[in-house]
């Protein structure tokens, strides 16, 4: 595969950054982790040869790095931190003037870990189902169906949040 590391870097930095940010909700942790992801990728760049999809390869590193980070820092919980990114207002407390966007933010925290992971990879990391299938080691078709169901679920939650 004739791909230079910087090409990979340029192509996917933003996606990696946003994916890590949505996981940590913290700029400094994001910087540390994103740097760590690319350092690992650089060191293992020779292993990319023969890998079927470079973005999936990079995101596998990113996902494992984030998981490792939270494993090492057990006191820091993804859920707790994620709240910083979401609004601190309780979901069950509807108020006037809430936008659909705000409600969608709140709804995300009501998803299970697995569903949230799929949503993050799909929308925040901008991955194709084919790439997600490689990372999550799942069937592409089942991920497609699952993602569709999650979107519907989010629709219901948003409606509820808006007081509908």
């Amino acid at each position: 595969m004739d791909v230079k590391f910087v090409d990979l870097y340029d192509a996917y930095f933003d996606d990696i950054y946003r994916y890590v940010y949505v996981k940590t909700s913290n700029k400094w942790e994001t910087e540390d982790l994103v740097s760590e992801v690319f350092r690992k990728a650089f060191e293992n760049f020779s292993l990319l040869e023969g890998h079927q999809n470079d973005k999936a390869w990079l995101f596998t590193i990113a996902r494992n790095t984030v998981i490792d980070y939270y494993r090492k820092n057990k006191s820091v919980l993804v859920g707790d931190n994620f709240e910083q990114y979401l609004s601190p207002l309780p979901f069950e407390d509807p108020f006037d003037g809430k936008t659909e966007k705000e409600c969608l933010q709140r709804s995300l925290k009501h998803l299970s870990d697995g569903d949230l992971e799929i949503t993050e990879l799909r929308y925040f990391a901008d991955l194709k189902f084919k790439e997600m299938a490689i990372i999550l080691k799942k069937e592409e078709g089942s991920l497609r169906v699952k993602s569709n169901r999650i979107t519907k679920k989010l629709g219901v939650l948003v409606k509820k949040c808006l007081g509908g």
């Binding site: 590391f5 870097y9 930095f13 940010y21 740097s35 969608l104 925040f124 519907k152």
Partner: protein
């Protein structure tokens, strides 16, 4: 909410996460360097470089730690922007962009190119911006400039008796500005809404450090820290043009000692100071003045980059350059030090080159012959020093002369950084045209004739009135790439190659209406650059891909040197010239 809308909103939420472009740029640099290092001949070199870059990486991985000014080492310095005929009246750095005012021409922004954004010019810019708003002064009035819309509006009028200059944001509604009257210069605070003005202190060019509520300014040749609350003043040093970092940790200024100006940085707490330029003496005369005149050292966003304007003192109406000085807690490795030195010679930044030498000679750079590329191929660590061996390629403009010199650089550590103690030429191999119009390869004083003008097939030669011009030998020594300069008008240039094994000639290109200046080869041996000027005096550059037989043409561009497999080129415009790094493999161009 429909599925489609949910998806759209999720993407909107994604786009609201602002990517840290500074991190992106900083981190990328470490990998660009690492990737380049991988191409070197010897496998151990990348390891050494990677080790040092890993330290740099670790550093970029964190928020810039605060270290003492004296611990900051210069890792690179380059004059990347040359304002040829124009006068820079003011400049400032905001969010990755340099805003430059050129006398009589307007305000320009330098990002990937130098682009005019306003017809107005500025006498001074604010050091920082508030949101998208920058301040500038012109003819005593203060203007607000919106960097997004590039529109400006006047916010403060000077009077016949007093002018405003050097504006600085205090907060959304207040600015500090220097009020110049016939009697004195005062720093005043002005409410830009009500125009209410309050006298603060005598002096000029104030930088505001919000967290400590201090002003740093100049008064009668002293740099002063002024505590706004207590009114206490502390002298930093003798100097002019002070500026502070956005985090308020360092002060930069220009200081003159015995006629030699240099750029200095100081800790805000005044614990340490550090000189970051090495102004060489003027040539040709016993002058007590330095070669350069420095002005307005300002900081980039990362507190590790300084931009400074410099002008040569020995040239009437000398051109103004903007030099970027990169600082780091980590000192450069031995190899990086040699690379920086050779780069500084090639772009003729004598001050930076000199700073890397233990005992610098009086003169360093010359117009001709000049270096056009280098490769580092060996390093040996000794007990007290390190030896770095490098091949340096030389040419003489428009002449059939090429030299490969092998140098041994001995480096030692001094003040926690490597300096070049000695430079010894181990060998020199020359390729030249002798008086019999033969191309000769001269090694260890012995010449070997490779071919003569008469050997070249007549089909490649349009006229008898020709001479050999710029040439080179490929790194594997198998081929000579040479040019024939037509002497008739209009002149033309023929670029050919000669295979030393098969003795075959091959036509690479015909450059019509041209005068050959130089040819140069990249480190991999795949790309050759040809600089020539047309009869209309346009500068042309052609990059030949010897592997694929492709060519890329540029106009108003000069090649400067090959840095490995990347070409440093200089783009020449009417008002200015600037350096870029060009990757011939991808065709991408980045600021240098």
């Amino acid at each position: 909410m429909e599925n489609e809308k949910i998806e759209k909103t999720l993407y909107e939420l994604r786009n609201e996460i602002e990517v840290d472009t500074d991190l992106k740029k900083q981190l990328r640099k470490t990998f660009v360097k690492k990737s380049r290092a991988r191409k070197w001949k010897n496998a151990w070199i990348p390891l050494l470089v990677a080790a040092s870059l890993f330290l740099a990486f670790l550093l970029s991985n964190e928020q810039m730690p605060h270290v003492k000014a004296s611990s900051l080492k210069i890792t690179n310095a380059i004059s990347f922007l040359d304002i040829g005929s124009g006068e820079i009246t003011a400049y400032t750095y905001q969010d990755g962009r340099l805003y430059i005012s050129l006398e009589g021409k307007g305000i320009f922004v330098y990002e990937n190119e130098l682009k005019q954004i306003l017809d107005d010019t500025a006498d001074s810019f604010s050091r920082s911006s508030k949101g998208e708003k920058l301040l500038f002064t012109y003819n005593g009035d203060v203007f607000l400039f919106d960097m997004k819309t590039t529109k400006s509006e006047k916010v403060l009028d000077g009077t016949p008796d007093s002018n405003y200059i050097y504006p600085e944001w205090k907060d959304q509604n207040h600015i500090y500005v220097t009020k110049v009257t016939e009697k004195e210069k005062q720093i005043v605070e002005v409410n830009v809404q009500t125009k209410e003005e309050t006298f603060i202190v005598s002096g000029e060019m104030a930088s505001f450090v919000e967290k400590e509520q201090k002003l740093i300014f100049e008064r009668h040749g002293d740099i002063i820290i002024y505590n706004i609350k207590s009114g206490k003043e502390t002298v930093v040093d003798r100097g002019k043009n002070p500026s502070v970092t956005n985090d308020g940790n360092y002060i930069s200024y220009v200081k003159e000692r015995s006629g030699f100006e240099d750029v200095w940085i100081s800790d805000m707490d005044l614990e340490t100071k550090n000189k970051v330029t090495t102004n060489p003496s003027l040539r040709n005369e016993l002058s007590d003045e330095g070669m350069y005149h420095y002005q307005f050292p300002i900081w980039g966003n990362d507190e590790r980059t300084l931009y400074v304007m410099k002008k040569r003192n020995d040239v009437d109406n000398g051109t103004a350059n903007i030099m970027k000085i990169e600082l780091s807690e980590q000192s450069s490795t031995e190899i990086e030090t040699v690379q920086s030195y050779l780069q500084a010679l090639m772009v003729r930044d004598d001050d930076f080159a000199k700073s890397l030498l233990k005992d610098p000679p009086e003169f360093l750079t010359y117009s001709n012959p000049k270096q056009i590329g280098f490769q580092i191929f060996e390093t040996t660590k000794n007990e007290q020093s390190t030896s770095v061996k490098a091949e340096v390629y030389w040419t003489d403009t428009a002449l059939p002369y090429y030299k490969v010199s092998t140098y041994d650089f001995t480096l030692m550590k001094e003040n926690e950084r490597y300096v070049i103690e000695t430079v010894k030429e181990l060998s020199a191999i020359e390729l030249l045209s002798n008086e019999r119009n033969e191309i000769e390869w001269v090694k260890d004083g012995k010449g070997e004739v490779l071919f003569s003008l008469q050997d070249i097939p007549q089909s490649f030669i349009q006229t008898d009135n020709i001479r050999f011009s710029s040439l080179l030998r490929t790194h594997d020594e198998k081929n000579v790439i040479f040019s024939l300069q037509g002497m008739d008008e209009p002149s033309d240039v023929t670029l050919l190659s000669f295979n030393c094994e098969t003795k075959a000639f091959n036509l690479l290109a015909k450059l019509e209406g041209g005068i050959m200046e130089k040819v140069a080869l990249d480190a991999t041996g795949r790309y050759v650059t040809t600089d020539y000027s047309t009869d209309a005096f346009d500068s042309k550059l052609v990059i030949f891909d010897l592997e694929k037989g492709k060519r890329t043409d540029f106009t108003n561009v000069h090649s400067v040197f090959w840095k490995g497999d990347k070409l440093i080129l200089e783009e020449v415009a009417e008002t200015h010239s600037m350096y870029y790094q060009f990757d011939p493999q991808t065709g991408s161009k980045i600021n240098y």
